[in-house]
């Protein structure tokens, strides 16, 4: 570990809540990665599911002999397994959408800041429009147009989110652009591409990383909301949001576990990611350094 990184970690370690959150994220990511080995049941193997086991309360012993510690859902899926696999999908969607949005948004923002003039005005108006326009409506229309599935969903999430990155990148890049080192690079002169990618871009990353963590969490939550509105992934490969949405209809009738456990998993995940993001934000903020 480089000294800078280790100093960073020293500082991070001082906030025990953030450490716990990081551990939680790590555990969840590990659990999601290794879901096929941890989960007692493969919830995607449809042939494996027994409708007769549907909606059983926690602790129920299924016909196939295993104990459903968190109960089963409306398809007879073991909820614990379903949550593990759901986390996997939610994380996948969140990270994929976050990464694509980060790339697109950063490029746009930096391009706008670098190019200036009409390009800048055009891109930033688009971004403003997008920011002011409700993400969820946009996602709604998009999913409806593009149909169901991971790719359309990611496209919708990216469309809903890239603007945040673009704005952040733009802000950071305009700040960087004015710094002397950029002018120095231009004065050398270095080619424009090099100025952007070697000089401006790396210096815009810290705020983008922070926005990135928060946006991954947001993407996961947005995906859950879309699922709730019936526009999520196929029901046989449920994300956490889908599990919650599916269980939602049983809340009134007291079979709350179907929705509550995935809900708790979702909240823990998002809260943990946000706490980590908060800590990073504080650490990246030079004004709060000591």
């Amino acid at each position: 570990m480089s000294p800078a990184l280790s100093a960073f970690w020293q500082e991070y370690r001082e906030n025990w809540i953030a450490v716990v959150a990081l551990a939680v994220v790590a555990i969840i990511v590990a659990a999601a990665l290794f879901a096929p080995w941890i989960a007692p049941q493969d919830p995607y193997d449809l042939a494996n599911l027994e409708l007769a086991n549907a909606r059983r309360p926690p602790g129920f012993v299924g016909s196939d002999g295993y104990v459903h510690w968190l109960g089963t859902d409306a398809q007879g899926r073991d909820l614990f397994s379903a949550i593990l696999y759901g986390l996997r999908i939610s994380l996948q969607m969140g990270i994929a959408a976050g990464a694509v949005a980060l790339t697109i948004g950063t490029l746009l923002g930096v391009l706008a800041a670098h190019a200036g003039g009409k390009v800048e005005a055009g891109i930033m108006r688009l971004v403003d429009l997008q920011l002011s326009f409700p993400a969820i409506l946009l996602a709604l229309v998009l999913v409806a147009v593009l149909g169901q599935g991971r790719v359309p969903l990611i496209i919708a999430l990216v469309t809903a989110q890239y603007a945040y990155f673009a704005r952040t990148a733009y802000g950071a890049a305009t700040a960087e652009r004015q710094k002397d080192y950029v002018e120095a690079a231009r004065a050398t002169p270095l080619p424009g591409r090099r100025v952007v990618f070697r000089h401006i871009l790396p210096n815009c990353l810290p705020p983008l990383i922070v926005v990135g963590t928060v946006q991954v969490a947001n993407a996961i939550a947005l995906e859950a909301t879309l699922s709730f509105l019936g526009l999520g992934l196929p029901p046989t490969e449920p994300s956490l949001g889908m599990l919650i949405a599916n269980g939602f209809q049983y809340m009134m009738s007291g079979r709350t576990w179907i929705s509550v456990y995935p809900g708790i998993a979702l909240i823990v995940l998002i809260v943990a990611i946000n706490v980590v993001g908060d800590q990073l934000r504080d650490q990246f903020n030079p004004r709060l350094r000591r």
Partner: protein, 505 residues
Amino acid sequence: QNLTMGVIAGPESMDPHYTATGTHSEALKHVFDTLTHSGDRLQIEPGLAESWRIVNPTTWEFRLRRGVKFHDGSDMTAEDVASSIRRMQTLSGPNPTSIYVRRVRETRIVDPHTIQVVTDGPAPTLPNDFIRLFVTSTRATAGLTPENSNEAFNSGRVTIGTGPYRYVSWTPREQFTVERNDAYWGDRPHWGRVVRRELSNPAARVAQLRTGQVDMIVRVPAADVQTLERDRNISVVKAETVYVFNLALDQRENTPQVTARDGSRLAANPYRDPRVREAIDLAIDRRALAEVAMEGLGTPQSQMVTPGIFGYNPNIQIPTPNVARARQLLAEAGYPNGFRMVLNFSNNRLPGDAGVGTGITQMLARIGLEVQAAGQPAAVIFPARARGELSNIMAGWGTLTGEANYYYAANAHTNDREKRLGAFNWTGYSNPELDALIQAANVELDDKKREELLQRIGAIYTSERIAIPIAAVGSAWAMRRDRVSLRVGRSDEETYAWDVLPASR
């Protein structure tokens, strides 16, 4: 006394002739009366027409009830019926009510209380169609054009019917309020004022019933039926409806959403092989779907019409699921390893559709098919079906006229625009023998013979597995026990204020 109902939707206008949507006519039946009525089990009963008869193969004669008055005090006469038919023929909406008078060629007023309807051929089901022939006042609607009539109705100015209630107010997608018409010709309804509140979200309906904001709700979500039944303050009425979940399979040469397991194209559309269709049928455990996926609010079915419907064939058996046999059939058909398919179903159209869809997905997986479930909103899936982009669809169908040919003529007949038949047959299924039977039933005026024809059609339909019927959808109403009770749950799910009684103490 007031009654507040939590309903799903409707009306969509104050003009009864604007749209043929079910909830729309359900709501407006309070204000406007229809020529014929349909009973709890969709049997045809007299309405504004006291009686009717066939004058000749293309002419029906309806005798109108005497002394019926519009809310403005004027008499209802044959002229009003004739002008209503004219309105229905000319008005156009997204779902035009002209479908109910499509057979009508002309009307002849015999006397103020007798009207003859000449059809474009023998039309045995005309009285069924007239269940939704709302009678508006000629005088009030005089001078209205298609452009301004909606506004006139929505303002209440011409919202004048002969129904048991009068119009009071309507806010679109919010609530519709009517008050009792004391001059109604039939039984005097109990409630002085009825408010229909639109609560499209099921959880919201249940919550508002539990807090007492509404007296009763319709279409209780299956998930909540048991809980509400256990609630001492609430009583629940259940009924079987005419909606049947079914799985329709594409019969065209090439079908878009089916491939081999490795994703390569198949030589032929497997659904065209009767063995594949049988295998799919045998894979489906209807009982489990009805009991678990539909939480008991369903009854296994193996024909497209429910027992109360004219043309129901009592001899058709419900198959017993048999996974081994299904796998064998698939192997015989040349798919020992199954194939890959998408299973499409609606996920917001009818209660339980998503559950049944995913349930079937599981069952098909068990016979070795690789199935990807695609539950989508009706707004997405139905247009896709109409464009022919689907290989199958699991959705509900309701024979709302109470007569089986309503279904077969539109879905089982070859799509033939000349004959105006098979408009909804998107699978490309075509069977000349069946077509002949359907055409015959369409013009057979003798009920006995027609029923026989329909039963034969039903038998062929089921054995051909043009679509695989799965279960009839049940419906439930829930109400505050201390305030109201429901006489009976109708099989078309329509809920009228006059069927709701004050709680018996």
